[in-house]
Every structure is written in C-alpha cells, then in structure tokens.
C-alpha cells in the first residue's frame, strides 16, 4: 500500500508550517507538536480523506525529556494511502481523539494502561487490560520482563500444614501481583454505573462469549440499556515479550494470538519482518503460504459458522462445520506437524517443504467443499428463523466502519471493500484471481453472507495455488537460504557445518535489523492484523505494536447493542467474531 503522496504532503506542509514530513524507507511520517495534533488530525480526516482509523500506540524512550511518543496510523480509503502521525507527549499527557474517532477511546485506554500516558478529555480513562488499582505500567522500558515480585503465594501444602523448614518446595515465594476478587469487583464497579434494573455479568467464563471476555449488561427487562466490556483475562503481554525476543523467536507467539487462524497471523508477522530485513521469498514458498493461509481462513470461517449457528440454537450446523474443519486441520497437521498453533512459516519461506500427497488431499478437499457449503446454505440462508434473528440486527453504517476502525468481513459487510489482499498484496495474492464480496445493509445477515462467500473465494485461491504448485519443480527452493537472517532448514543443519554455524549465530545473537520502522498488515479472517515494528538496529525490536482487528471490531459492540435484547447480543457478537487471544494479546 502506498504512503501519503507528495501532493497531499505539500498541502499539509502549507497548512501547518511546523509539521515535519519524514519519508523513511517504508513509511511516511508527519511529526507534529502536541498542541497542533488535534488540528492536524481533523484536517487529515476531514480535508485529506484520511477517515479510516487504523491504530494508535505509544513508544517509550526513557532517556528523552518528553518520554512517550504517540504514533497514529491513518488510512485514506479513496486514494488507498496510509500515513503515520507522530507526536511527543508533554508531561506524559496527550489530547484524546474521542471526538474524531470513537475507537480511539479504546486505543487510548490501552496506551494509558500500558504506558501511563494520560489523555486529556477522555470520557472514561480506565485501565484496559489490567485491573483497577494495578500500580504499574507494563510496557514501559523500566518494567522488567518477569514482573515485580512482591506478593507471597505459598503452596497449598504450606497453607494447610504450616511452613516447614527447610521449605517443602524449592521456588521463589514472591510472585508478581495477581488480581484478587476484590480487585475484580472494584474493576466491575468502576466500569458501569447502574441505570436500569439489573446488571448481568456475562463472563469472564460464559459459553456465549467464545473465550474469556467479560461483558456487563445493564438490563431493563431483556433490553440492554448500556453495556461495557472488560478485557484482559487473556492478556499475556505479547508486545512486551516481543521486545525481549529475537525476530525469529517471536513467530510462535503470533500463533497464540488469534489461535484459530495461526497461519494468517504468522503470514502477517513474517511479511512485516521480511520487509524490515529485506528478505526475498522464493516463489514456491509464497504459493505455499498463500494456500495455507487461505485454508486457514476457511478453517476459521467454519469455526465462526459453527459456533455462530450454535449460539442461535442451530445445533447441527456446528458439527457439520467441524467435520470439514477437521479435514483442513489434517492437511495442516500433515505439513506443519501441529494442528492449531502450527508455526509453519519461517522468516524467508516456510519451515518444511510440502509433504508428499498434500496437493492431492487439497484437491480432494477443493472438489468436495462446494457441496458442503451448499448444505450450510440449505440449513441457514433462507431459513425464516435465521433471517428473523439476523436481519436488521446490529446495522453498521459506512461512517461507523471508519470511525471505529473496523476491518475484515465486518467492514466488508457494510459495503466497504477494504481487503489488504487486494490493496497491498503480500505473499502471492497479486498473482491469483479472486473477488472481494461486500454487503449492502451491514447487518448480521450481510456479514454472514460475506463470510460464506469469502469461503468460496478462498477456495478459488487455493485451487489456483494448487495448480501453480503442481507446475513448479519438486526441487524448487521453499526457503531463501542466501539471506543471512534466514535460518537454514533443519535437515541441512545436521549435514552441513556452514548451516549449523549460521543457525547457531542467529539463535544466540540474532540477526541485526536495519534501523527504521515498518507497518505491514495482513488480511486476517478477523480483520486487519498489523505489525508496527520500530527498530533501533538491534536484533530485537525496540517496539512491536500489534494492531488487532478483533479488538477494533469489538469496540463497536457496546454501541450496537444498546436498546436491543440479550438474545441479539449473542447474534451480534457472533457476527463480529472476536477471538480473545487477539483482542487481549
């Protein structure tokens, strides 16, 4: 995707004299003073067409006077251009963008939670992932990776039988703080002021939420008067972990974000790192990546279909969907060795060559799957009850798509053809043919139809990849061995001294990345998964920001559910399809 063009940049420069335009190798950055930030952003939004909010986060530079730098990523849907706006937080404070983009509220809460940056004018500046009363800011550079041990957590034996000398277990008694029940209660109370009859806790463990999200519904009868979401039950501090790992080491962690579409996550991550390191990927690897990413997309959409239908009471669709999902799992397992969190891709290519017979199995699947899709359509698409539950429920307007930073099938359901695969092709997406289905109304039913059609399109891509891979010779390289940052395949390491030395070097020291920054995103089944990497020339990223599509898609949920029933909440949540591993990271 191109970055801000020169004409626009000149216009900005004309309007704002003090704005500094910086063209780096991979991005275009506008540096602006904090006082002028709101003015510049509203100029970009209203006059230059940068309406779509992509991401916001902070970077911590402990050595500088103004310690935190805010990074805003915006997108212009008319020109298909991105821009990054950067500003320094004065006295640890930044202005809130809540009047420009509604989803900025969540992004700002996250920055407040992780960095302690305060946002002036924010209506509800609460912690995003950590509980109320947590005293630290984990993403600051002075917060140690292992946390601050201060709470004594004795073992059960010790509690029951008293302390023994010497201690019965050989471990540190002091641990990092964990949330107590009182903490959670305080968090809950702080989030929602009861206005109506009763507050229904939906979660943290609830079958309808597909994970550990915690919804609070203020109910009047069955109608939701107001709603808030408490996230963070699955927060693992992925971004903090990434800062402390070599680039290649972080790959398996991306699997654990959106664990339903692991290969798509990996693809987005390796695309970002390869761009930063300047690694070329051989043709075969690109096609293998594309094929598996699309299989994974079908897999993910099948899970969405099954659980979504299960939520609305259609019990049988669930198992029908899982039957096909199992076949895809087997294909992935046969190649990667794992079913769910596969770690199949590697920087510079894929981990293994195609297993023998893979293409035949995939071909059989491609042949069989349209019949199955027809079955799902027969069960649901024209079903009167299904229509009644999904039509005109949770209508998202095109304006809201931009305001809430919605991406993926949720954006496309509202008629916004935002698909990274088309707009900024990665892997082999520019060499295959496929269409981008869009909805008209933007209700739950449209999002359902969009996802169903996406499966058909994914199947088309898989088919083209298979025929391409069949033509390629068996000996074609599946990993770029020449690049110094690329690990040699396992079987070579055992045979070849040079490869062993190379791997040894990468594992121990890591490969230094050039200075600079990069924002690359992939089209995940749950929206745009972006990686913003800020490198200071080390073998570890200085800051790695993960832009989660699921988080931004979820941010519109409280607005949509107001005035509707809890039965609609389940249909709506199913259509937004968040995965907690990715929203919390």
């Amino acid at each position: 995707m191109p970055w801000m063009n020169k004409v626009s940049a000149d216009r900005v420069k004309q309007e704002f004299k003090e704005v500094e335009v910086e063209h780096t190798e991979h991005t275009t950055n506008l540096h602006v003073k904090k006082e002028k930030l709101l003015e510049l952003l509203s100029f970009l939004k209203n006059r230059e067409g940068y309406r779509h909010f992509i991401d916001f986060s902070c970077i911590d530079f402990p050595d500088r006077k103004e310690r935190f730098q805010g990074v805003y990523i915006l997108y212009n849907p008319d020109e298909n251009e991105r821009v990054i706006v950067k500003t320094w937080a004065k006295d640890g404070k930044l202005p809130s963008l809540q009047n420009l983009w509604a989803c900025a509220k969540w992004a700002e809460r996250e920055a407040y939670d992780m960095f302690g940056v305060e946002f002036e004018g924010h209506e509800n500046l609460r912690r995003m992932f950590m509980w109320e009363g947590y005293p630290y800011f984990p993403l600051r550079k002075d917060f140690p990776l292992e946390g601050i041990p201060e709470v004594e957590l004795p073992s059960l034996t010790e509690l029951m039988h008293g302390r023994t000398e010497p201690p019965s277990h050989d471990y540190e008694l002091l641990h990092t703080r964990v949330a107590t029940l009182e903490d959670l209660e305080r968090t809950e109370k702080a989030r929602l002021q009861k206005k109506a009859q009763l507050v229904l806790n939906w979660g943290p463990l609830h079958p309808g939420t597909h994970g550990t999200i915690w919804f609070l519904f203020d109910l009047d009868g069955e109608n939701v008067v107001q709603c808030d979401v408490i996230l963070g039950q699955l927060h693992r501090g992925m971004e903090k972990i990434a800062e402390n790992l070599h680039y290649f080491q972080f790959l398996p962690y991306t699997d654990r974000m959106d664990y339903i579409s692991a290969i798509c996550n990996e693809l987005a991550y390796v695309s970002a790192v390869e761009k930063l390191l300047g690694v070329d990927v051989p043709e075969k690897a690109r096609y293998i990546r594309t094929m598996f990413a699309e299989l994974q997309r079908i897999n993910s959409h099948l899970l969405w279909l099954g659980t979504g239908a299960l939520d609305l009471g259609a019990l049988t669709v669930f198992l029908y969907a899982f039957r096909e999902r199992e076949k895809i799992m087997d294909i992935i397992e046969g190649n990667a060795g794992f079913r769910l969190t596969s770690a199949f891709l590697s920087i510079g290519g894929v981990h293994y060559d195609l297993a023998e017979g893979t293409l035949d199995v995939v071909k059989a699947f491609v042949k069989d799957f349209p019949q199955r899709l027809k079955e799902y359509h027969q069960l649901l698409t024209r079903n009167r009850i299904w229509l009644r539950r999904t039509k005109d429920v949770g209508v998202i307007t095109r304006e809201d798509v931009f305001n809430y930073g919605l991406t993926g099938p949720v954006a496309r359901g509202s008629g916004v053809p935002y698909d990274i695969r088309k707009l900024e092709p990665y892997a082999a997406y520019d060499e295959v043919e496929f269409d981008v289905p869009v909805g008209e109304v933007g209700d739950v039913y449209d999002r359902y139809l969009v996802r169903m059609e996406e499966m058909v399109q994914s199947l088309r891509i898989v088919e083209q990849c298979v025929s391409k891979l069949e033509k390629l010779p068996k000996s074609a390289p599946y990993i770029n061995r020449e690049h110094p940052a690329v690990m040699a395949p396992k079987e070579e390491v055992f045979k070849d001294l040079e490869d062993m030395v190379k791997n040894f070097r990468i594992v121990v020291h890591g490969e230094k990345a050039p200075k600079g920054e990069v924002y690359v995103s992939g089209e995940n089944p749950r929206g745009e998964l972006g990686f913003y990497i800020y490198s200071t020339g080390d073998s570890k990223p200085y800051r790695l920001r993960i832009r989660s599509g699921a988080l931004y898609n979820l941010s519109i949920f409280p607005k949509l559910i107001e005035g509707r029933t809890i039965a609609d909440a389940i249909a709506l949540l199913g259509s937004l399809d968040p995965v907690v591993g990715e929203t919390d990271r």
Partner: protein, 336 residues
Amino acid sequence: MTELLVSLLITVIKVLVVLGVFLGVGAYLTWFERKLAGHIQARLGPKLVGPFGLLQPLADGLKLLTKESIVPANADRIVYYLAVVLAVAPALMLFAVIPFGPSFKLFGVEVKPIVADVNIAVLLVFAFGSLLVYGTIFSGWASNSKYAFIGSLRKAAVIIGYEVVLGFSVLGVILLAGTMSTTGIVQAQIERGVWFIVYQPIAFVLYLFCMLAESGRVPFDIQEAEAELVTGYNVEYGGMRFGVFPLAEWYLNVMALSAIAVVLFLGGWSGPHIFGPLSPYLWFLIKMFGLVFFVLWLHWTLPRFQAKDITEIGWKVMLPLAILNVVITAFVYYFV
C-alpha cells in the same frame, strides 16, 4: 364394597403401569434422542455402554443420582425443592386423561385403559399445562441467579401467550365432537370414520406450535438458550434435581402432549387391525412416537427464535388464526 375395592385396585394398577411405562420410556427417550441427534449430526451417538449404547440412560441416571447435592447460598430452599416437584407432577398428571385403547373385559370386569375417564379431560390438560410453568418460574426465582431468573421469565411470557392459542385451537375439535372427554373425542372420530385433522388442519398446526412452546423445544427453547443464559432456569440445580427438569419438560411433556394430539386430531387408537389384539395400543404408540420423532427432528435442525419474536407470533399471528378457525368451525357446524 367389593366393587369399590376392585375399581380402586384397577386404578392403582393402571397408575403404576402408566408411571412405570412412561418414566421408563422417558428415560429411554434420552437414549433415542442422543442416537437420533448423533445420526442427524453425522456422528454415532452413544455406543459404548451396553449394546448400541442401550444402557446409557442407566449410567446417566446413576451418575446423576450419585452427584453431590449443592444448594446455592441465599436460595429460597422450600421453593427451590418445590420447583422440582412442580416440574414433574403436572407432566405426569397429563397422562391420567389419555385413553390408550378401547375398553375391554377382564375376568368379567370392564376395564378402560385410561386412568381417569372424566368428562372435562381437555380442561384438565389445559390446567396441568399451565401448572407446569410454575416449576420453571419457581426454579428461576428460588435459585437466586440472574440467568435462571431471566430464563424463567421468558418461559412464563411464552406460556401465557401459547396457553390461549392452545385453548382456541382445541376448541374446534371440542365443537365437532360435542364433548370434552378424551374417550368421547376418540369415539366421535371412530364413529365418523374421519380423523379430525381433516376437518381442523389449521388447528393441528397451531397445536403443534403450542406443543413445542409448552415443552420448550427448539425453535422455542428460549428459557434454556445455552449460549445466552447457560441453560437458563435450571442452571443452579445439580444431580438428579437437574435431571428432572429436562426429563419433565423435554420428554414427559412432549410425550403427553403428543398423545393428546393423537387423541384430538389423529383418531386416537383407531387403525386397521393388523397387529392382532394389541393393534389399538400399537397404533396409538406409533402415532404418538411419530409426533415425538417430529419434535426431536425439529430440535436438531432449526435455530431458535427470540423471546419477543415468539410472543409476537403467538399473539399477533396464531391467536387471530385460532379464533378465526373456531368461528368458521362453529358456523359451518351449525349450518351444515
């Protein structure tokens, strides 16, 4: 005196037979449902406990009976236990007015295969059907849980709407038969040689909907709605107390209401004599389980409605239809 004793003895035997048979069948219906659901969903269903998994209900029952009994804190204990009783009792009482076959002579005594052949049998059916909802409401109220509470309120809203529709849909049959006695209704159909479903097709369809709503089956299973309410009204019950609710609602109630549908619309025990002396009973059971099968089939195929949609359909569509049906039936019956 001896006559009284004999009739008392016969009644006790009849009660025991009905109780034994239908509680047993109710338990085995779980096996049948799981097997059926399995085959509908492209899997096998229970197959490990006993041949074809036939001992599965026993294993399930044993498991439920041996579970720890947990009553939630702050629960209203009396109502909490009363709810269990109120869930099962009306469902079983419904079987009292169902005639399973024609009367026959045994040792010179005339025996009617019905526990209570009263002339207000259909009214009793309505009464017990309405009582059934108290089990749900009490369980939701007493267990001090918001999920259970919302679930039971949903159910109450549905039952109120559908009891009315049920009453009006059955009224047409009562008009045609000229009696409220279930035996009388079956006799009327046999004498005319026509099942009332032919005269009252709309009423039959409405009755089927009401049956689904009363027994809380898909697409009307909003009081459970496991995705929203974590099985709703019975979420705070454990062990056999939990097991009783589905047994009563999903199995006993469905069977009883199907049996009544057979009586009202499908000619009761009438049918060609091809099974020898047991023919009427077999016909009755075949028709009844045909309807039960239909209910289970729907359950594993359709999505579920919303509470407000169900009541809306009930009041705005079904009730006018049912009333229209009664009025037309009355006019036609009077003038023709």
